[in-house]
Subunit: 523 residues, 2 copies
């Protein structure tokens, strides 16, 4: 009975979706229906008035599948029994705490204190917590978190970030604090910098394929040209300089001038960790072709393969001979990933290396139009860059912090392994090792029937697959088409964050079983 | 002696500034010098690569004078005795807590609890505080503030905002939560909406003059045409429909199509509170001319004149006959002003009335590219919209809240009066009554010598004046030219937030005395 209802519902949904092929349009057609029910009055601002750059920007992480998932979530909340599951498993976005990942105790106690400075003089928290909170409050205007900071962020926090970068890269001299800007998450930093650097539609931005959709979307928003370079899935999503040179050549032939090389390391959605030598070659390539580098390094603390370590572009750059040690570099980091997973607090920073002073001024001016990044996120960034150590805290605090940190890293590593192993046991699915970050990006092969069914629905096959997985298992995936992929290959992105090994194994089992069913049905 | 040093320093500074006339350029030339000392290496990205729209956007609130103030602040910190003051008085930006304004106790205790949920089950805070925190945590993913919310913000908070709007406007039906988007402060909401609505350089945005520079800056960033309508200073900065019609006509004659009417009520920097009838006429004007309204209502709780009350555009709209009750309206609010003054926490929302569903989808999509607004700011927004009442809290909590609220409102009112009265006693300065918001925007007349001195320095006279005030008193003002003003009139903006009546009167005295001196010297 339930299965029949489900089938009907699916048909209804797919037909309503049949109006479009791309995720963005699908997302829209869904919402228009909502909208039309609501407002009937005549409008002066209509579809034709919308900035086309915005219309054309696609952001699959919050696209068709998550939009449909939102509706199902609502139905479940309203008590619907039409689904073979009673809750969603939201694997579409790197949101660790949604699965119950615990934030670092010390960090949260410090934040709890700065929100209510009275706690500094109470016994509620340890001396170490109160000392850290006091340190922040004394350096903020009138000891309050409620005041605007400088546009670029509180200077004492930028000093901490500078020290962190120096320590990370075994460098003696910390960077100039004026080269560090605090942001509400990394995405904001990327968009601010692109807005300043892009002035012409022939400006090219080289982005890896597959990529995190922020880059293709931002590229569209600022009106630049996307130049794709393909990662080699068979070689663990590695990047080759030959491919970079080839794509750069092709772009030039088409009158496009690549100005920015975007690198995501560890990879999102692909999970690879770049080697020192690859980074070296990418820097040399970028310099030789007069490009600046955008290094998205938000997963620098999410490394799972013992044989791999994170090396920053900044570090490799500083160890190269002139002129390569002068490459212009932006590096982005965030409090949303790593071992904090504080997505909601919106903290982050970016560092500018050897950036023209005029460019920097314009970046700071643009930043200043939003006044400043949120101050709680700024303090969270300080906590990320300056954890408790025996130099600044008691052995007890340090031990608790290290225990939490190590347990979390172990757990993240184990979860990544379980997901990869499970995926590789599924019919028509192969998945590269997840060396870092928090996603698996398996490739999936479809039979003729699946392809023709998807074509009938005017959908990418992987979108068709992910929607079926959602309706049948409650697991929210993002189709590979949202990240771009080589033609005639299909993928999906799944986060490796499901917490509690039982729930993780159950979800993987559910996916395995439905995947089996899907391929039987459509092959 | 000190005076001589000061004079020398001034000359040096002014000469170094002599390269430009506009605040933006000035701001830049300052910083370039810094920059050049720092980095010498060759650059691929230079001044010529910068997006011209960004270069041309000016944001005086963080412009020349505040930039210079930042340098002086640093010098004072380093122990400089070259100034006749030992601290700055930062009246350039509405940042209440920088002067020691206390945040609302209940709000901060709730925020302190959600950052560390263990406090829900402790005795640290009152039952009311813990109940509110528990209410939030239960409605967030996995009871954590550290997870991303929906792109538009947590739905339970948007529901609170909807109820608040209905109550404020004596309306029975709360707005649809899908018409409410939570933001990191109001500025972000304005920029998101403008980015979606503006698609052509002939699209016009009608902005009041004087205006808050966010609007002229955003207008430049999105590549729209500014259409100025002038407020009548002699009539308390009132707005006349004749003026709106005149400017609209002129714009049309120049091939510009005004699409958006920006209204700031209470006014920034002008402090006037619009009457019901004026709002009615502005809505009728906007509808008759096929425009949508952007109502910047962030100062709706800052009303000081007993005879005036805040009326929202939403309320007037809903009480007008068809078709005017269908006017397309965006209304922006923030936790940074009002009685919270929580600038650093970056909370806010905007409401969309009768906006086309496709336009709304694109706004939400653009919002989703930054994932979501920070969740602490979201909870602060809920606290602003849903204060403790006898329905949701104990008499004790309600009384404490009301006492803090009323004391603060009284104090803000008194400070506004003192500033206005003091300014009106100063030579060549006249100031309209500050009916609301947190700024005075007095007009100042300059003698021939001041005008020619300023011309020599290639500066607007009011910039020249504000820089002198800064160097001689440490008071940071923003020149009227940063807000735009009628030709051959000069003004400055000063916040009315200096706390502690002694400090306030001292600052006003210092300004009065230097103003006297300035006019003697330059007349």
């Amino acid at each position: 009975m339930m299965q029949r209802q489900l089938a009907k519902k699916l048909v209804r949904f797919f037909n309503s979706a049949a109006s479009s092929t791309n995720t963005g349009a699908q997302y829209r057609s869904d919402m228009s229906n909502q909208g039309k029910q609501r407002t009937e009055a005549p409008k002066f601002i209509t579809e034709d008035d919308i900035n086309k750059k915005v219309v054309n920007a696609e952001y699959a992480v919050r696209g068709t599948v998550p939009t449909r998932a939102g509706k199902i979530k609502q139905l479940l909340k309203e008590g619907s029994h039409n689904y073979p599951f009673n809750q969603l498993t939201e694997c579409n976005i790197g949101n660790p705490q949604i699965f119950g990942q615990k934030p670092i105790t010390f960090n949260r106690q410090v934040l709890s204190t700065i929100l209510n400075p009275e706690l500094v003089n109470s016994e509620v928290y340890s001396k170490d917590v109160r000392a850290r909170a006091k340190y922040y409050l004394e350096r903020m205007g009138n000891t309050t978190i409620g005041a605007y900071s400088d546009s670029a962020g509180h200077i004492f926090i930028r000093e901490s970030v500078a020290k962190y970068i120096a320590k990370r890269d075994n460098h003696l001299i910390p960077p100039d604090v004026n080269d560090i800007i605090l942001t509400d998450g990394a995405s904001q930093g990327v968009q601010i910098c692109l807005n300043v650097l892009i002035s012409d539609s022939r400006d090219g931005i080289m982005i890896p394929i597959p990529q995190y959709p922020l880059y293709s979307a931002s590229c569209t928003l600022v009106g630049a040209s996307e130049v794709h370079y393909f990662l080699d899935e068979q070689k663990g999503w590695s990047c080759s300089v030959e491919e970079l040179k080839k794509q750069h050549r092709d772009a030039k032939m088409h009158g496009i001038n690549p100005k920015i090389l975007v690198v995501i390391n560890p990879g999102n959605p692909t999970g690879q960790v770049l080697s020192y030598d690859t980074i070296k070659q990418m820097i040399e390539f970028a310099y030789d072709h007069k490009m600046v580098i955008f290094a998205d390094e938000v997963y620098q603390d999410n490394i799972y393969t013992p044989s791999k370590e994170f090396v920053s572009f900044k570090k490799v750059r500083s160890e190269l001979p002139y002129p390569y040690n002068n490459i212009e570099l932006f590096s982005f980091h965030s409090t949303s990933k790593g071992l904090l997973g504080e997505c909601g607090l919106r903290g982050g920073y970016f560092e500018m290396c050897n950036i023209d002073s005029r460019v920097k001024e314009e970046i700071i001016k643009l930043r200043s139009m939003f006044l400043c990044s949120n101050t709680v996120g700024q303090c969270t960034t300080e906590l990320m860059c300056n954890p408790p150590t025996l130099q600044n805290a008691s052995a007890e605090t340090v031990e608790q912090y290290n225990n939490e940190r190590n347990a979390l890293l172990e757990s993240l590593k184990r979860r990544a392994q379980i997901v990869t192993e499970s995926l590789n046991k599924m019919t028509n699915i192969t998945c590269q090792e997840v060396e870092g970050a928090m996603y698996a990006f398996p490739s999936i092969k479809f039979g003729k029937k699946a392809l023709s069914e998807a074509a009938k629905k005017k959908m990418e096959p992987d979108l068709f697959y992910c929607l079926n997985v959602l309706e049948n298992t409650g697991i929210v995936l993002v189709p590979g088409s949202g990240f771009r992929q080589e033609e005639n290959t299909y993928h999906f992105r799944i986060t490796t964050l499901i917490l509690g090994e039982d729930r993780l194994r159950e979800s993987m089992e559910a996916l395995k079983n439905y995947n089996e069913k899907f391929h039987k049905e459509y092959c």
